[in-house]
């Protein structure tokens, strides 16, 4: 077993044994620890509240030296997530130039949760969402809530 697999197995056991509030994890395919299915509850008080968002966590073969990738399988109206079928998410700690091999998947998951509660418009990938978030918060919130009701129920 490669060293990356050993570490991932350890981290999986850790997350399964003590899952963070509002996050459920299971493997896409039982024989492969590199792809994780994640279901994340929309944080309370955010326009995503009440929604259940499916995410895919992909751990590269040279994990932890290369960062994991997280994408939203459920459409979400959010400045830091592309509003398309890819649902690519941009988050600071997962950027190659900021990734630390010592970071744990658990902290990546909670960071994602925090990003839902508090978008970072300056680091946006979905610029129109970021614009609305910055200039017309009520409109952004209304749209985000609508999309949540539409896609994330």
């Amino acid at each position: 077993m490669a060293s990356s697999q050993k570490r991932i197995t350890k981290e999986l056991a850790e997350v399964l044994g003590n899952p963070p509030e509002g996050i459920a994890v299971n493997l896409v395919d039982e024989g492969n620890v590199h792809n994780w299915n994640i279901v994340m509850d929309g944080p309370e008080g955010s326009p995503y509240e009440g929604g259940k968002f499916k995410l895919l966590l992909v751990l590269p073969t040279d994990y932890p030296f290369k960062p994991p990738k997280i994408s939203f399988k459920t459409r979400i109206w959010h400045p830091n997530v592309t509003f398309d079928e890819h649902g690519s998410m941009c988050i600071g700690i997962l950027k190659p130039e900021a990734w630390k091999p010592s970071s744990k998947i658990m902290s990546v998951l909670t960071a994602t949760q925090n990003l839902l509660a508090e978008p970072v418009p300056d680091d946006a990938v979905e610029t129109s969402a970021a614009e609305k978030f910055k200039n017309d918060r009520p409109l952004f919130n209304r749209e985000a809530r609508e999309y949540t009701r539409k896609y994330a129920k």
């Binding site: 350890k10 932890p64 030296f65 290369k66 630390k100 091999p101 010592s102």
Partner: protein
């Protein structure tokens, strides 16, 4: 010892381990003997020779795959592999990693995996000894037997002691030169790598597999118990029968005559109905009693024999002492005579009688001694008594004399006063009254009587 058997020669050779060249020849020697097995084709290091001289194999443990007992201190966990450090190194940014992990990390980029500070092999040093010590003390579970050991001794445990770890088959040391490995648990017998038939399914397999085959693999390994009809392993039938609840068992008072027999589970029902339920315990008690009485009897017989011997001796002593004999003459020399006159058959009896003579002599002597002591005390008392009396007499005489003298003195002084009246010479004895010494007769006379009394008391 011209032609020692093979294991013997191996052992004796094994004792020359200190000489590397000899160790090397020993090594090739064994290669030939055991048919050039791959295990023996290790380097000629001391450890490998030790391994060959016994049946031990070298075990390398993957310290990242084993289970650790309890919770491991987070400070001892590598941030890269998330396991307790293996061969830890310290960076100059004060982070510790496994040697292998940091090598891996540096191959992806020369940055510290924790703080992304620049890092290179040159700035990495072995971690402090303390870290190693803490790691060595970690509780690790043996991957074979599951027992917990300090991590540092785990490999040694597997290599030399673990009953579930693999060792070379004992057949490797004998003529057959078996090249297989077996669990240490099974290595105490000879080679078990021979075909045998499973008594359950009649399949032929290696004897070494038999135990696990009969327990887990055999298709005919189970049967229904003849009595309780519970499914049991055939190889454990005997053990089961010993506790099967449906096996017929006899009453526990059977030896006293109870004919009852019932299933083990029902035997308790009989306990109340058994005709022997009151006799049984009694009989048991009596049995104990009888055996203790027997012991008593045996003890008494022994004492009796002793007493008899003593009597015999005393009788013989009596006969000997009929002749005129002083205490001092009852010497050792007289004893053989006594022994010969009487039938003191064995040497033991003789010694015993000898001892008894000595004892009686001793008691006689001590009686004499105390008698003498008593006499002595008496004599001393008799002699001191008259002296005491005399002393008391002298004391009383002296008192009488004292009284006489006092009376005489007083009488003399009164005489003197009457004869001379006031005497200035006598009055001058008074210190402060000296100036008006002639004042009165009464004072003077009192003073005189005072001083004379002083003189008398001094007497």
């Amino acid at each position: 010892m011209d032609t020692p058997s093979q294991p013997d020669s191996l052992l004796s050779r094994g004792s020359h381990l200190s000489d590397p060249s000899q160790a090397y020849t020993f090594h090739t020697d064994l290669d030939n003997l055991s048919g050039g097995t791959t295990e023996t084709a290790l380097g000629a290091s001391i450890s490998s020779i030790h391994k060959i001289s016994t049946l031990n194999l070298r075990h390398t443990v993957d310290l990242r795959a084993i289970t650790y007992g309890g919770t491991v201190d987070e400070n001892l966990v590598c941030p890269i592999c998330r396991c307790p450090f293996v061969d830890p190194v310290l960076t100059d940014c004060d982070h510790v990693f496994c040697r292998a992990c940091i090598d891996d990390a540096l191959s992806h980029g020369e940055l510290c995996p924790v703080d992304r500070l620049p890092l290179s092999q040159a700035t990495i040093a072995r971690a402090p000894k303390m870290v190693f010590n803490q790691l060595d003390a970690l509780k690790a579970k043996c991957p074979c037997c599951g027992n917990i050991f300090a991590r540092a001794i785990l490999e040694n445990h597997l290599e030399k002691y673990c009953l579930e770890a693999m060792v070379r088959c004992p057949g490797s040391l004998s003529e057959q030169g078996c090249t297989q490995v077996v669990k240490r648990r099974l290595s105490t017998q000879q080679c078990l790598h021979y075909p045998a038939q499973c008594p359950d399914c009649y399949e032929t397999l290696e004897q070494i597999e038999m135990e696990s085959h009969r327990q887990t693999l055999c298709r005919d390994r189970t049967k229904l118990c003849d009595y309780c009809e519970v499914e049991i392993l055939r190889c454990e039938e005997i053990e089961h029968k010993a506790e099967c609840p449906d096996v017929l068992q006899i009453c526990k008072w059977a030896q006293y005559g109870c004919q009852h027999e019932s299933k083990r589970r029902d035997l308790y029902l009989h306990a109340d109905d058994c005709h022997f339920k009151s006799i049984g315990p009694m009989a048991e008690m009596l049995k104990v009693e009888i055996s203790s009485l027997r012991d008593d009897v045996r003890n008494l017989t022994e004492t009796n024999q002793l007493q008899e011997r003593r009597i015999k001796f005393l009788e013989s002593g009596q006969r000997a002492s009929d002749r005129p004999m002083d205490l001092m003459d009852l010497s050792l020399a007289s004893m053989p005579e006594a022994a010969s006159t009487d039938s003191l058959d064995s040497g033991h009896d003789y010694l015993l009688s000898l001892l008894e003579t000595q004892q009686s002599r001793l008691s006689h002597l001590s009686a004499e001694l105390s008698d003498f002591q008593g006499k002595n005390t008496m004599m001393l008392f008799n002699e001191t008594l008259p002296i005491k009396n005399e002393l008391a007499e002298l004391r009383s005489t002296q008192q009488v004399t004292c009284m006489h003298v006092r009376w005489l003195m007083r009488f003399r002084m009164q005489e003197n006063q009457r004869r001379f009246g006031v005497s200035p010479g006598l009055a001058s004895t008074g210190g402060p009254d000296g100036g008006n010494g002639f004042g009165s007769d009464i004072t003077l006379s009192r003073r005189l009587s005072d001083s004379s009394r002083d003189v008398i008391t001094k007497l």
